[in-house]
Symmetry: C2
Subunit: 253 residues, 2 copies
Amino acid sequence: MDIVMIGSGNVAAVLGRKFTAAGHKIVQIISRNASAASELAYEWDTESANYMSLTNPNADVYILAIADNALEEVVRDLKLPGKVVAHTAGSVSKEILKDVTRHYGVFYPLQSLRKEISGLPDIPIFFEGSDDIATNTLQKLAQSIAYEKATPAGTEDRLKLHVAAVIVNNFTNHLYVLAEKYCQAEGIDFRQLLPLIEETAQRLKTSSPSDTMTGPAIRNDQETIQKHLQLLQGHPAIRKIYQVFTESILQTK
Amino acid sequence: MDIVMIGSGNVAAVLGRKFTAAGHKIVQIISRNASAASELAYEWDTESANYMSLTNPNADVYILAIADNALEEVVRDLKLPGKVVAHTAGSVSKEILKDVTRHYGVFYPLQSLRKEISGLPDIPIFFEGSDDIATNTLQKLAQSIAYEKATPAGTEDRLKLHVAAVIVNNFTNHLYVLAEKYCQAEGIDFRQLLPLIEETAQRLKTSSPSDTMTGPAIRNDQETIQKHLQLLQGHPAIRKIYQVFTESILQTK
């Protein structure tokens, strides 16, 4: 398909690379950030523009990969009648696009995307269209980059997926932040924990996390727990998390 | 080196495989669990025994890979004068072995080990010896399977590493458990989150977690946070964790 990419941030860059790798053609990239846009235009051998009014009207799909709070303003004067137009914001309704075209929808990548990365991660796509034309086009596009991880999903399901994503991505990463701070303060090397972190994530491919839970909390090993709380005396923020988790793990058993 | 492995659980099995892969020879495996021991003996083409009194006295190193709380009893009648003997329990002092031999120590693998896995994970080893003979032997053994991830560490450092490991392994896995329960209850597919979970862990290889924090909490995006807390009304355990993390992330900024 011929695609116009609107936006030049992390989502636009990584989705654009996925599209290109799948054989699609980015025919134009539009962004107010002229330097980011021209970098991506160079990478994709395409043209860039920095006004929505210059949007090329001849593409099959228009992807709005811009921040949630910028969508309303950008969409206000956009008219692409007869075209398929989708935004990538998981927690925004598709209806924000209803005055742009009859064929509108959402194309939500459930992944943490950063343009600096070298390889391209697996990206599950959740899509939704206003009518058959939008739905079919977005489904085809989703399947071309996500294979069996292309799934129809309405606003409610996307919101739920976002909550779950916050738990496994943001909260997990916060645990890594706390562990790194603790290691730095105590003079031990956080990087020695990376194999353990990787193994913990990899294991999910073959086992449910409920079946592989180990550690002092699930054993209710109070001797070790008290020893750990003692060690964390000088780290109140981590100590608080330690207590909350120990209690939560015991109650989840 | 010729190694006697005492224990037949997860740590014994995976360490034994690492030793074998590095060219060492397991000359005997000893365990009260006769069937587990004979399975590993078959895998390693060696002999098994189920009494400590039958311990082969001709090995270079004796590894006690048994549960923390079984160590004391197993060690009580063990005499291996002149031999190098080490246990694998990170939070137990090496002194528990002082009546077994003059050359004793600790050989602590910082990894979550399960015998069913197919591949062998990276395993950082933290070692400590009672004298030069023990230290040198354990260092050589550690380097042969962990390369630059072989590090000397006393009891205090091992305890701190264990606390950090509980945070990044047990607590992270608990977040996965909570997310899986939420997905099951809400009819969404937890497996769609696996690429995100993998990316979150992989990213640590190139970036500090503090530099890659995203999500509503770090942006203090109260609109999204309130929407999420609303969605979590029926999940009090997860809601509690959501609130504690949102607060902790804001305070860590």
